[in-house]
């Protein structure tokens, strides 16, 4: 009797999981369709392969659990925004850690030399730090436009703003980045 109940339970579980998997096949399709673009964007924001994998996993985990497994209305917008937020959170944590370490080491004073100025890695790191500090609306536009290389129209659709507004936000973001990066140099 008990054995029968268990087997019926297993059968039921299997049926339910099959139904859910049928419903959630779109997650794999989304992964197939937008995976490459997402990876490119995450790689450019984070610059570290393990971090990229973690952010990507987080994004799809959040997508799978969106309102109890429901499909968001605009899947592309959802995954790009989520991936962006996850990546920026990771980047901010990294920047904070780096600052804590650099203040702990007294000798690790920030020295700027012409050679360092031309150092591509240094430039990339300082730009990433600055992007992480930007206000959300400007940061979203700069990452989607310059790192994910999406068009203004696509960005507008993802963020729910017009293409012209996205263009203005990018211009503003660039102005702020310019000021911050030159200040960082002067430090």
């Amino acid at each position: 009797m008990f054995g029968k109940t268990v087997s019926y339970g297993l059968l039921w579980d299997f049926a339910v999981s099959e139904a859910v998997s049928e419903d959630q096949q779109w997650i794999l399709s989304t992964m197939h369709k937008h995976g490459q673009e997402l990876i490119t964007m995450l790689w450019r924001i984070l610059g570290n392969e393990q971090d990229v994998c973690d952010a990507y996993q987080d994004t799809f985990l959040q997508l799978a659990h969106y309102e109890g497994g429901q499909r968001p209305e605009h899947v592309k917008a959802y995954i790009f925004r989520t991936a962006n937020n996850v990546a920026i959170s990771m980047l901010r944590r990294k920047v904070a850690d780096k600052r804590r370490i650099s203040t702990a080491i007294v000798t690790g004073k920030h020295v700027t030399s012409p050679a360092k100025e031309l150092d591509s890695k240094y430039l990339q790191e300082s730009l990433r730090d600055c992007i992480a500090q930007l206000p959300e609306h400007l940061r979203n536009v700069i990452t989607l436009r310059d790192l994910a290389e999406l068009s203004y129209a696509q960005i507008g659709r993802i963020l729910g703003i017009s293409a012209a507004t996205a263009r203005v936000y990018r211009c503003k973001a660039l102005q702020i980045l310019t000021i911050w990066m030159s200040k960082e140099e002067e430090k």
Binding site: S17, E18, V20, S21, Q24, Q25, I27, L28, S29, M31, H32, G35, Q36, I39, W43, R44, G47, E49, V52, C53, D54, Y56, Q57, T59, F60, L61, A64, S120, L123, Q124, S126, L127, R128, D146, L147, E149, R170, C171, L174, Q175, L177, T178, I179, M181, S182
Partner: protein, 180 residues
């Protein structure tokens, strides 16, 4: 007054510099260069914009490992539901490699395609141009000869030589309609 004007110009140019760097308009415009050569503030800004642009380009030019997409997919699929993990699509995604976009794949053929299109366009234009000129030339020639005959031998004989029901080329008809 001049100082205020200069400040206003400076402010306007500050807004345009980012656009200039993004190549939305020519940063080498004479008026822009004239201002920048005389304004140390704008010079500093231009250098800073250049640096941001350089940093963005450096970030974009950094390649990642070819198997990054595969690894990321495998890791992400690993935390999904059991049934999804074992789906046929999931197996494919675990082995997927990045593919260049269609635009990038055929990007190298763009210049050749543009050249061929330009050649075809030129040939079409030449063909249309040459034939229409020939038509016009033929019609005008016929008219001149008919006029000559009319003046020499009179209308009746000229009409016999050049009957009125003789079909004129289409371009000539169009011209005569336009003239009417």
């Amino acid at each position: 007054m001049t100082g205020i004007n200069k400040n206003n110009k400076c402010r306007r140019i500050r807004g345009w510099l980012s656009e200039a760097i993004s190549r939305h308009f020519d940063p080498g415009a004479v008026w822009l260069q004239n201002h920048i050569t005389n304004c140390p503030r704008c010079q500093r800004r231009l250098v800073s914009y250049g640096k941001v642009n350089l940093a963005i380009s450096a970030i974009k030019s950094q390649p990642h490992k070819l198997d990054l997409l595969m690894c990321a997919n495998a890791q992400a699929i690993g935390v999904l539901k059991h049934s999804l993990r074992h789906a046929q699509k999931a197996k494919k995604l675990r082995k997927i490699r990045p593919e260049p976009k269609l635009r990038e794949r055929f990007g190298k053929y763009t210049s050749s395609a543009v050249n061929v299109a330009a050649c075809i366009a030129i040939m079409l234009l030449m063909k249309i141009g040459v034939f229409s000129s020939m038509d016009t030339f033929q019609t005008q020639g016929q008219k001149v000869i008919k006029q000559y005959y009319v003046s020499r031998i009179g209308d009746d004989l000229a009409d016999e030589i050049f009957p009125k029901d003789t079909e004129l080329p289409p371009s000539a008809n169009a011209r005569s309609v336009a003239n009417v």
